[in-house]
């Protein structure tokens, strides 16, 4: 075992760790922002909107995330690059980064998975609670904001914790589109030092620690949300 490279790459690894956490947080937040309407329209929305949402979930859950990521990075990226208007725009520094496509692909993907979860979550809230909210004169928007959404979230918090761990384990895919997250740094170490195992074992250990932190965080949140069980 040769760990002499470790001090040299330590700062880079810290940055990679930060980038991984960023990727995870952004994808989960954007994913949930997508998931709430996707889940909701399948229950209360007009039928055509529900059908679109269902189709979206099917596509996101039915194709590998790596294909989605490469489709966006190479496919969409090459389309963007072919328009001079886009290349000269102020957005280009963002649009040419692998980081942007990683967050985009992960969020869209998470939106599909979490959308399906939120659909079940909205269904799991007892009808009577929604009816009594309406009886108090709340508008549909108030019912959603005060009763339906919080109750739905509480019910699926454990599932979302599992989903977050799955997302964490998907983030190293970003390294295939030049993002220097933990895995990207590890790949660079491998390239520069010709070591086979040591960097990979470190990566495994780091991801295990992160998994532990995420599960601990969620169990703490779960403990704080009141529930009668």
């Amino acid at each position: 075992m040769n760990w002499s490279w470790f001090p040299e790459y330590f700062p880079l690894l810290l940055q990679g760790m930060w980038l991984t956490i960023q990727l995870l947080a952004l994808s989960m937040v954007f994913g949930l922002i997508i998931a709430v309407p996707v889940g909701l329209v399948q229950i209360t929305g007009p039928r055509w909107l529900g059908a679109i949402a269902r189709g979206y979930c099917t596509v996101m859950r039915g194709t590998p995330l790596l294909v989605q990521l490469w489709l966006l990075y190479f496919g969409l990226g090459s389309v963007f690059a072919s328009y001079p208007e886009i290349r000269q725009s102020v957005f280009w520094p963002i649009l040419r980064e692998g980081y942007f496509y990683a967050v985009l692909a992960f969020s869209l993907n998470e939106g599909g998975y979490a959308g399906e979860i939120m659909r079940g979550a909205f269904l799991s809230v007892p009808r009577g609670e929604l009816e009594s909210a309406r009886a108090f004169g709340m508008s549909p928007w108030q019912v959603l904001r005060r009763i339906w959404l919080p109750r739905a979230f509480r019910n699926v918090l454990p599932t979302l914790a599992g989903e977050t761990v799955l997302m964490l384990k998907a983030t190293p895919l970003a390294a295939t589109v030049t993002v220097l997250d933990i895995f990207g740094v590890i790949l660079r170490v491998r390239q520069n030092t010709y070591l086979t195992y040591e960097p990979l074992l470190l990566a495994a250990a780091l991801y295990m620690v992160l998994t532990l932190i995420v599960t601990q965080m969620f169990s703490r949140i779960e403990g704080q949300v009141p529930s009668r069980r």
Binding site: T58, V59, R61, G62, T63, P64, L65, L66, V67, Q68, W70, L71, F74, G75, L76, G77, S78, V79, V165, L168, K169, A170, T171, P172, L173, T176, F183, I186, T196, Y197, L200, L201, A203, A204, Y207, M208, T211, L212
Partner: protein, 245 residues
């Protein structure tokens, strides 16, 4: 189809056609390899899962410890990292073993390596599915078998096996869909399955959008057809269970 052809620049028919001018046959071969890798890895996963569940449920302290270690490590490390570790460790370990028997190092078949690697990853998830399914079998059934004088193996074959199967099917079908999608990760180390062929075809022709969309569609077709077949299977195996609510 004409609209689709316009969308991708009129190259749709030719570049995806079979034969020398198109990549149709290459993509088809990639799809076959993807299915082959997925199916074999899945079967290996089932075998490892049954072993793992048996170890975790009925094993002594050592085999139980190995089972716990196996499932908790594999399930908390990203598949991509595991695939690289197992791929390099596997090929080197295999060659060390060969060297031990006096044979020279060989190039390990990439397909076989992919199958073993994905199978080992799947096995951990299968272990949990089987463990939960076996735990859900009513103990009365097992006691009844014991009362009839059945041995442990016979009880497993005649009672636990058939009784746990309906419980396991949702988890098993999920894992099948997961393994299909996980084969795409092998593209990072190998060059036989669908996604790696797509990547090289796309880079070669610069038609990124076209090739990745086609491949996404192929994966989607596989998962949709699988989903349909699974629903038939599930109905068959659940026929003995009473419907809840």
């Amino acid at each position: 189809m004409a609209a689709a052809a316009d969308l991708v620049g009129g190259m749709f028919p030719e570049i995806l056609s079979f034969g020398e001018k198109g990549f149709g046959d290459e993509l088809l071969r990639g799809t076959q390899y993807t299915l082959l890798i997925a199916a074999c890895a899945y079967l290996l996963g089932v075998a490892l899962g049954l072993l793992g569940a048996a170890a975790k449920l009925y094993g002594g302290p050592i085999s139980r410890g190995i089972g716990v270690l196996y499932t908790s490590i594999v399930r908390s490390v990203p598949e991509l990292v595991l695939i690289l570790i197992l791929y390099f460790a596997g090929t080197r370990g295999f060659n060390t073993l060969l060297g031990f028997f006096g044979a020279g190092p060989v190039e390990v078949n990439a397909t076989l390596a992919a199958i073993v690697v994905l199978g080992v990853v799947q096995g951990a998830y299968h272990t949990e599915v089987f463990r939960a399914a076996i735990l859900a079998v009513p103990p009365g059934l097992i006691e009844a078998g014991r009362a009839f004088g059945m041995g442990r193996l016979l009880i497993f074959r005649r009672i636990i096996g058939p009784a746990m199967l309906p419980n396991a099917i949702p988890g098993l079908s999920n894992l099948w869909l997961i393994v299909i999608k996980d084969t795409a990760l092998v593209a990072v180390v190998g060059n036989v399955e669908l996604l790696s062929i797509t990547a090289s075809a796309a880079a070669f022709t610069k038609k990124y959008m076209l090739f990745y969309l086609t491949t996404a569609l192929i994966y989607l077709t596989i998962t949709l057809v699988s989903g349909y077949l699974i629903s038939l299977l599930e109905r068959h195996y659940r026929r003995g269970q009473t419907r809840l609510a």
